[in-house]
C-alpha cells in the first residue's frame, strides 16, 4: 500500500507536460525536493516562523552536492542512518552537530583536494578556495541565498498576486469606495508590487 517516497517523486515528476522545460527547472529546484520527510509532521506554525531551521540540512545537502565531489556521500550516509534511527522520535538536527558535520565535510573535501594532485588540477582551484571562503566569510550571505526563493518563482508569484489584487481593488472601490482606508491599503500594496516589477524589468533590460 505504501509506495516509497522517492518512487512517488519519480512518478509525480513525469506528471506535468514536457514542453515547459525552463519552468520545470524551477519546480525541480523548489517544489519536488524533500518529499515525504519525517519532518513533515512538524507543526505548520513552526515552518512558517522558522523555515530556515527545519530545512537547513536538506538545503545544505543540496548545496554540498553542487560544490563538492563524491566523498561527502559517506558522511551524509552516516547522517542519514542517524536520521532514520531518530525518525520515530522526530528529533531535529542540533545546530552544533550540523556544524560538526559541515566541518567533517569540509575536511574530507579539503583532504581529497590536497591528496590527489590530478583531481586538484582537474578541479578549478576556485572550488576549494570557494569552500573555505564560504565557511569563514559571507556565511550569512549564503544562508540568505538558501532561504530565498528563485527569482523566476518570485516573479511568477508577484505577477499573479498583482492581477488578483487589481481585480480585488475594483471590488473594493465599487463596494466601499475609493477613500476607505482598506481600499487605500490595497492600492499601496498594488503600487509596491508594480514598483518591484518595474525594477526587475529595468534591471533585466540593462
Amino acid at each position: 500500500m505504501e509506495d516509497k517516497p522517492l518512487k512517488a517523486l519519480d512518478k509525480s515528476s513525469g506528471h506535468r507536460a514536457s514542453g515547459k522545460s525552463s519552468q520545470q527547472d524551477i519546480r525541480n529546484l523548489w517544489t519536488t525536493a524533500t518529499l515525504s520527510q519525517p519532518k513533515l509532521n512538524v507543526a505548520l506554525s513552526d515552518v512558517c516562523e522558522d523555515s530556515e531551521g527545519s530545512s537547513v540540512s536538506s538545503r545544505t545537502r543540496r548545496w554540498r552536492k553542487q560544490t563538492a565531489g563524491h566523498d561527502w556521500d559517506a558522511s551524509w550516509e552516516a547522517l542519514e542512518d542517524r536520521k532514520d534511527k531518530d525518525s520515530f522520535k522526530q528529533e531535529e538536527l542540533d545546530e552544533h552537530s550540523l556544524l560538526e558535520l559541515e566541518m567533517r565535510l569540509d575536511s574530507s573535501v579539503g583532504s581529497h583536494v590536497e591528496d590527489d594532485d590530478e583531481s586538484r588540477t582537474e578541479k578549478p582551484s576556485s572550488v576549494s578556495s570557494f569552500n573555505i571562503a564560504k565557511h569563514t566569510h559571507h556565511r550569512a550571505y549564503w544562508m540568505e541565498q538558501h532561504n530565498r526563493l528563485p527569482l523566476p518563482l518570485i516573479e511568477l508569484m508577484e505577477n499573479e498576486a498583482l492581477e488578483i489584487l487589481t481585480k480585488a481593488f475594483r471590488s473594493y472601490r465599487s463596494g466601499i469606495g475609493r477613500d476607505h482606508f482598506l481600499t487605500k491599503q490595497l492600492q499601496r500594496q498594488i503600487e509596491g508590487l508594480k514598483r518591484r516589477q518595474n525594477k526587475r524589468l529595468h534591471v533585466s533590460a540593462h
Binding site: S12, L40, L44, S58, M157, L186
Partner: protein, 261 residues
C-alpha cells in the same frame, strides 16, 4: 460586504429540513435538491501556468513539502494586503476565481467551509488546507487525500457540528472531493451501520478505507492493462520484423520473381 448569494442561505435551510428523511426516494430527492441549486460537480481545474499549478503534493502523505510551504507562505503574504495574516472574503474570492475554474457559488461554499471560526476571514492554516485539497483534486488523489486526512475532511463536511454528515453535505462538496453519485448511494447503503442516514466518524473512516482499497485495485488493474498493451505492441513489432526478414531473404525473393513471371 456581503458576498453570499441569497439562494445559498435558502439552500441551507432546505437541506436541514431534508436531513432526517428515511426512504430511498427521499434520499434521491435530497440529491436532486442539491443539484437543483446549481451545485453540479463540474470538473474543477487549476489554471495552467498559475502558481498553484506548479506545486506538488507528496503522493504518500498528500501534503506539501517544506519548500512548497515556504513558497506558499510568501504567496499568502503577498495577498494579505491588510497585514492580518488572513484573507477576507473579497480577496479569497478573487484569488480562487483567478487560479481555478470554480464559479461564484462554489467559491462561496468553499469560503463558508473553511471559515470554521466564522470570523469572515481565512487564515494560513485554512489556506494551506485548501491548497492541498485543490492539488489533490487536480492530480486525482481525492481518495488518498480523504484516507490520509479523514478527520479534518470529516470536520469540514460536518457543517453544523453534529458529528454526523448527511448525503447533502457530500453532494454540496462534490466539486472538491469528487464523490460520485453511485458511490454516494453505496456509501450510505453499505456504511450507514446505525441506519440513521447519517455517517458518524467511524462509519466515514470505514468508507475512506474501502474507497482507498478500491482506488489501489483500480491502479493495479490500469498497470496490468498497460503491461498487456506493451506486450501486444512488442508482439506486433516482432511479427513485422520477422515478415520483413522473410521478404528480404534470397529464397523468398526468388519465389516472388518466379510468381510474377
Amino acid at each position: 460586504m456581503d458576498c453570499f448569494p441569497p439562494c445559498f442561505k435558502t439552500f441551507a435551510i432546505r437541506a436541514s429540513l431534508f436531513q432526517h428523511s428515511s426512504s430511498e426516494a427521499e434520499f434521491s430527492l435530497q440529491l436532486q435538491a442539491a443539484r437543483a441549486f446549481g451545485l453540479k460537480s463540474a470538473r474543477m481545474k487549476l489554471k495552467e501556468g498559475s502558481f498553484l499549478w506548479y506545486l506538488y503534493l507528496d503522493k504518500l502523505y498528500c501534503l506539501l513539502s517544506v519548500r512548497n510551504v515556504k513558497a506558499l507562505v510568501d504567496y499568502f503574504h503577498l495577498l494579505d494586503v491588510h497585514r492580518k495574516n488572513t484573507l477576507n472574503d473579497v480577496l479569497f474570492y478573487h484569488f480562487l476565481h483567478h487560479v481555478t475554474t470554480l464559479k461564484r457559488r462554489q467559491i462561496n461554499i468553499v469560503f463558508n467551509m473553511l471559515d470554521w471560526s466564522a470570523m469572515g476571514e481565512i487564515g494560513f492554516d485554512q489556506f494551506y488546507m485548501l491548497v492541498c485539497i485543490l492539488l489533490a483534486r487536480e492530480n486525482q488523489l481525492e481518495e488518498q487525500f480523504i484516507f490520509r486526512h479523514s478527520r479534518p475532511v470529516f470536520e469540514l463536511l460536518d457543517l453544523d457540528g453534529e458529528l454526523k454528515i448527511g448525503a447533502d453535505n457530500f453532494h454540496m462538496y462534490n466539486f472538491l472531493f469528487n464523490i460520485k453519485r453511485q458511490e454516494l448511494r453505496e456509501l450510505y447503503h453499505d456504511f450507514d451501520i446505525t441506519g440513521d442516514r447519517l455517517l458518524n466518524y467511524k462509519e466515514f473512516k470505514l468508507f475512506t478505507m474501502f474507497s482507498m482499497d478500491k482506488y489501489q485495485e483500480r491502479q493495479k488493474a490500469e498497470k496490468e492493462k498497460e503491461k498487456d498493451k506493451d506486450k501486444d505492441k512488442d508482439k506486433v513489432l516482432l511479427k513485422k520484423k520477422r515478415s520483413h526478414q522473410v521478404n528480404m531473404s534470397p529464397n523468398t525473393s526468388f519465389w516472388n520473381k518466379w510468381i510474377r513471371k
